[in-house]
Symmetry: C2
Subunit: 147 residues, 2 copies
DNA sequence: AAAAAATACATGCAATTGCATTGACATTCA
DNA sequence: TGAATGTCAATGCAATTGCATGTATTTTTT
């Protein structure tokens, strides 16, 4: 059974993330922009450049279920922000590339997303606190110690 | 625009919470138990004792949307773990009380939930790190500084 | 006291998500 | 090589969620 400090850290982790993401999603919605997940996709696809990125790589980077990525890409493609073309090297997979409109949308989203993060996280902690926090959270994601 | 430490803290907060909650939800599901939200409800209702607790108070404690609570309570009630009786003091509201089966379920869930938290959080950090983490996360949830 | 506003909760409907399966191609193995 | 297995992605269907609204009750206003 976990001790008190573990319970406290767990609870606050849930609350803090919930509050922070609600704030950011609400800011995007208020600005008439798509949800955060679209930003994550656009950013990765833009970073991948001309070569594009495969859906499965996106899936691993964003930690979404396979069908989640599949449907998310369908919507973003339908909206004209990315294009999917099946790979010449591997017939099963596809290269996803960002469009000009996609780059523009990502920028417009960042104009809202950035300040929202600043408000939810940046303004609440000092720089050194933010570093400490990032470091501790990083440890939580690290591979299991045991078995 | 947020600086690097803010971005890092934000990203790791999202990842760490996502990983931690996935781990816990999976543990519950593997054990054939209901989702975490049920535990939160059962715990609050159990704490409220004989007097019970109103749906709206639960809503505020758990930070769920009104319709979320309404439907969650319907399911838990249908499963026999709580009972709802409309309040004598306020005809609009209801007193929610835990049943014996509910208390038992909460205990069974804790037997899985506790160790899962321990694994996801407790085992990754020292006691003092956990305290530091909890403290920093607490600050994130604190009321806005500005406006 | 009657009317208006606010509060507590439920619910119809559309959109999203999760699960399981399928289809298409690629790789491995006998 | 051809059969079995593995990988990448899409999708039908059921369950869940979000939004807007509805119903009932209480509180406030005039």
């Amino acid at each position: 059974m976990p001790d008190e400090t573990t319970e406290a850290a767990w609870t606050r982790l849930m609350r803090a993330q919930g509050a922070a993401i609600s704030h950011v999603e609400a800011a995007l919605k208020d600005a008439g922009l798509p949800p955060l997940a679209w930003y994550d996709v656009l950013l990765e696809v833009e970073r991948a450049g001309k070569a594009g990125i495969r859906a499965i790589d996106l899936q691993q980077k964003l930690l979404l279920p396979q069908y989640g990525i599949s449907r998310l890409l369908s919507k973003i493609e339908a909206a004209g922000y990315i294009s999917r073309q099946s790979s010449t090297e591997d017939g099963r997979s596809q290269e996803i590339v960002i469009t000009a409109a996609g780059r523009q949308l990502r920028r417009r989203m960042w104009a809202v997303y950035g300040p929202a993060i600043e408000q939810a996280v940046g303004s609440k902690l000092t720089a050194s606190e933010r570093e400490t926090l990032a470091g501790l959270l990083e440890k939580l994601t690290s591979p299991r110690a045991d078995a």
